[in-house]
Symmetry: C2
Subunit: 624 residues, 2 copies
């Protein structure tokens, strides 16, 4: 930016109002340069942003890593021009960079992402800012005891998202008084008016009912905004929501409070800029954060023993191994936090709660808040594990998808996978989770078949980038590996092998045991079968699969999952790039299960030992 | 059941209290017979169910299809023993059948499903009953003008789910006074106490803030329950929530109001039955529904023309074809209803709103309610289309999964698919939707590449069973097919073919056009390439793929989706069962996109014409 024409810092109400106009002008300019974007949604919140920057935010843009820095989450991510204009006004980016908005290679994307060092999390899927903000605020208030404030700026349309109310409940119940939500009530959604228009009290009533303090203001009155933010900062014992009446497109008659003006540049930007008083070059001095010590991380007792299970002893559920490992990881590493979807007794996350109650966060039956909080704890440098039934992680699919855009590093565990749960029936069975978690960008997907393997994979998860997922089984499974065995991510285990193998039986989780039994059955038919445990579903062990394909020529792949997007699809990924694929048969859950015992379920789905053996016989016959 | 010992119908408060005890006893017996289940969650709501059956529900169990029948949705689906015990008391099932609970083949599954004719929708994933009930109530109130009441019985734990509050907002705003929610506040969730315990007013405050009428009662006081239900039936202009304080495991000291008793049979069922006063054989006469005429369906103007687009004329976005076709379908069929996630101007569902405003339901930015309402309209015999950006359908993943368990027939359209949207960036790009929708049991997944194809596929969707999904593109694409061309579901189109083809280029949607351009480029290299438009992603055209594999030996598959679970995985499905797979290369979106133009995005992701051509060259070289 041109520092020579930078004025003295913005201080007075009049100067702040001018800053608001500058943010509008710059939003219009950015969208004009891009040829797309959301200037009108930026203009409604410009005065709010101006007051926040000039008077209340405490943030060092040169040192975004400072622990005392406030957190600002723009939940209405489409108002990115406003955020970027604010960064310019704060001296964080240049005017030239502002005008790269939405261009290829620019870090000023259509919706904010953490490619910018001042952005905690990606937004743009509405209703996510508050749940994540709750996680950030919880981390500061309960564990790090840091003085920062978490500011979430959201739109009125997104108040319809259930995830916002999951977060309202959590923040109210946790008395997160360092969390402030500002609702930009500009009355207009994308298609037309919102449900409540400018009925500020409709929002305030709802929010107050969830245990919040609320303030209703004119969102274009600098003094009122300032007073509300001051009140929010001083209010004790409850989070504050500032509900601000604003006008979309404020300041430009051609678009102000008009329908049909969402998500597009103003038609005549030069006129608009003139109407807004022309370009300004105000520079705002954002207050420095309070001195705060970097929270110590990496403590823990390095001598803590991981659980060990006796090979060939009593069978153990991988969910049990999960709970016991989690408790040990919590002792080893003081940055591990656990988030539960009110099923900790079943997932066995409860074992962590028993050992480390202060780092266990009950999110109740609110899976979006569960993952949102995990992302928030990740922002603050913790190593979060979020766990619930794998089936119910589908509730948080959008949060998981967006967590990848946020370059978040979180660990997710889903238990009670597949038909193997038995009698509870299909509502509780995860039969889609591998497809969901594989398709998350940059994810790791692990699926142990025994307790010792689960220990090793869980221990490896926090070192992985991105979203790591472990799928666990409800029922007990035999312990087939030793406590010391290594299971590198991206690897696999050959459990049976012979030079004369005619087919490879591939399983993961419960189907590994079925594949082993099938191999035994096949001996009677004179068929030698290799057995491969594909515990690392993503990344998949391409080398081992190709070796097995070359050696045996045939695969039978069995998975406790619907046929699409799971283990078989992962296997076949290894045979792209022109590499010859083996003949193969896929066994998966093609039917809609009902209630039955686990063994009946596996048989009915055609993924038990007999089904695998029969498929292998047929396949060997075909190839003869 | 043993009719000889059936008593005279339950009428008095005392008899209803006895019926409540019978429902408890039978819940204990069912769980005992099964060896699993949720008797304690059933026992808390037994008195509520008894009063509802004996005094307020209007339902003919012999004729569940009657249009005047009330709808009863057990949102706390784990309390299935209570529901089944109620069915027994109403004479709908025998005592023998009751004791088949959770056994293989029994229609009395662990959680209710519409395998039972009296069950509208599957429950068991909490927080879904109310959103679906809102759809059922909307259909009755706004379109069918039927006198039925929709009763939703939910637990207190599930009030934490955001989906419940999406529904609260919708029901309050729509003044659905024929909808009654009963909250069974038994204080105990699965892991432990709920957030609000027995603070009935905590629930009532929140619910009232959303525009509902509320009544707080002792849920074990027959007279109080009766009075509350009477009040709910007479209250005008707003839905009523009855918030009932109850005790989990009520009536059996060993489990009553005790932690750790969730989801398991009582330890000594015979003692429990004695404590509850032993088995009873009361029969309840449920009131007949009011006479009501079956709503006329199947009307419409059969001469309505479907849109037609000129081949080779101006390019047209498939989302535009969607909107225009939807408007025509609405004229052709009066049972078509459209649900919008407040993006109708972008998805083009708005064109239906313009033509048929009375059948257009704005669900605002609340995708769980969007799909829940669609399922509810489906229950009432409508043909719902729910549409939003494909990326945001991930919010409703659990509802889509459960809709399949419900044997629901709904149509879902997701627009703005893939990196092809351009500048808006990854938060708005669906890159996981094919994986999600393919893995839904029994789904149909369609992905048109041109406007005429979109017309035909949309027209076919309502005739498909289950969940049908169409993926639409934001940008304009060339019109390559004629208006009369047929595109059967499960088919594909060969766009280029020659006996000397060395490779097949497979695309769908935007990549079809890239594949065509790639084929042109390859001519210069002396490579003949077949081009296959795989518009039916599920079911996939196995025959055509095998024919192409035999003819050309090589596939290049290009998709605007993450590599997992999408088009390439669908293609390779055709080469299971031992059928030899072709050598192939997969092109998909491996990177995390930023902002860029659509053309830049396709190039950066490596799914544009040049990338496809290069992959084909390499593959042909490998095979030589």
């Amino acid at each position: 930016m041109n520092d020579t024409i930078t004025h003295s810092p913005v201080r007075s109400d009049t100067e702040i109002a001018e800053l608001g106009q500058q943010l509008r002008v710059d939003s219009v300019r950015a969208a004009k340069a891009a040829g797309s974007g959301h200037p009108t949604s930026s203009m409604s919140a410009a005065d709010i942003m101006a007051v926040l920057l000039a008077r209340h935010l405490r943030y060092d843009f040169r040192h975004p890593e400072l622990p005392g820095n406030d957190h600002l989450i723009l939940s209405k991510g489409h108002a990115s021009p406003l955020l970027y204009s604010a960064y310019k006004a704060a001296g964080a980016i240049s005017d030239d960079e502002l005008l790269t908005f939405r261009k290829r290679g620019s870090r000023l994307e259509g919706h904010p992402t953490p490619r910018l060092p001042w952005v905690d999390v990606a937004t743009g899927s509405l209703g996510q800012g508050l749940p994540i903000g709750v996680g950030v605020a919880l981390a500061g208030a309960r564990l790090d005891h840091l003085p920062y404030r978490t500011w979430v700026l959201c739109g009125d349309s997104e108040m319809a998202e259930g995830s916002v109310w999951e977060a309202m409940e959590a923040a109210g119940a946790e008395h997160l008084d360092h969390l402030t939500l500002i609702v930009d009530v500009n009355r207009l959604g994308q298609r037309g008016p919102t449900r409540h228009g400018w009925d500020l009290d409709a929002y305030a009533r709802r929010i107050r009912a969830f245990g919040w303090h609320t303030v209703e203001i004119d969102g274009h009155d600098v003094a009122a905004i300032d007073q509300a933010m001051t009140e929010a900062r001083s209010h004790q014992g409850a989070p504050t929501a500032i509900i601000a009446r604003t006008r979309k497109g404020r300041g430009v008659a051609a678009v102000e409070d008009k329908e049909g003006k969402h998500g597009k540049p103003v038609a005549d930007p030069d006129d608009a800029i003139r109407e807004l008083g022309g370009e300004r070059h105000l520079r705002v001095e954002v207050q420095a954060p309070p001195e705060a010590e970097q929270p110590a991380r990496g403590g823990g007792d390095p001598h803590t023993a991981l659980p060990r299970y006796a090979t060939g002893g009593d069978p153990v559920a991988t969910r049990t191994a999960f709970g016991e490992t989690l408790a040990a990881l919590g002792s080893l590493h003081d940055d591990v936090v656990v988030l539960d979807g009110e099923v900790g007794d079943s997932t066995k996350a409860q074992l962590f709660a028993d050992a480390h109650p202060e780092r266990y966060f009950e999110c109740y039956i609110a899976e979006q808040q569960l993952i949102g909080a995990a992302v928030g704890f990740g922002v603050c440098g913790f190593t979060p594990f979020a766990a619930t039934f794998a089936a119910f992680l589908t509730r948080a699919h959008d949060f998981l998808r967006m967590a990848a855009v946020s370059r978040s590093r979180i660990n997710v565990v889903g238990t009670h996978a597949g038909v193997a749960i038995g009698e509870d029936g299909p509502s509780q069975m995860a039969l889609e989770d591998l497809a969901m978690m594989r398709s998350v960008h940059g994810s790791t997907v692990l699926y142990p078949c025994d307790a010792n393997q689960a220990v090793q994979l869980l221990t490896a998860m926090p070192d992985r980038p991105g979203i790591s997922y472990l799928r666990a089984t409800r029922g007990n499974t035999p312990v087939i590996y030793g406590p010391g065995d290594a299971f590198p991510v991206g690897g696999s285990k050959v459990l049976r092998s012979h030079p004369d193998d005619q087919v490879t039986l591939i399983g993961a989780g419960v189907t590994v045991h079925e594949a082993l039994a099938a191999a035994d059955q096949l001996v009677a038919d004179g068929i030698r079968a290799r057995v491969l445990d594909l515990y690392s579903v993503k990344p998949v062990d391409t080398q081992a699969l190709r070796t097995a394909a070359e050696a045996t020529g045939r695969f039978v792949i069995a998975e406790d999952h619907h046929p699409e997007g799971g283990l078989a699809d992962a296997v076949m990924e290894s045979f792209g790039n022109g590499y010859p694929a083996p003949r193969h048969t896929r066994l998966a859950v093609h039917t809609m299960p009902g209630s039955a015992t686990p063994a009946e379920q596996l048989a009915d789905a055609g993924i038990d030992a007999s089904s695998i053996a029969q498929a292998a016989r047929t396949l060997v016959e075909v190839g003869r």
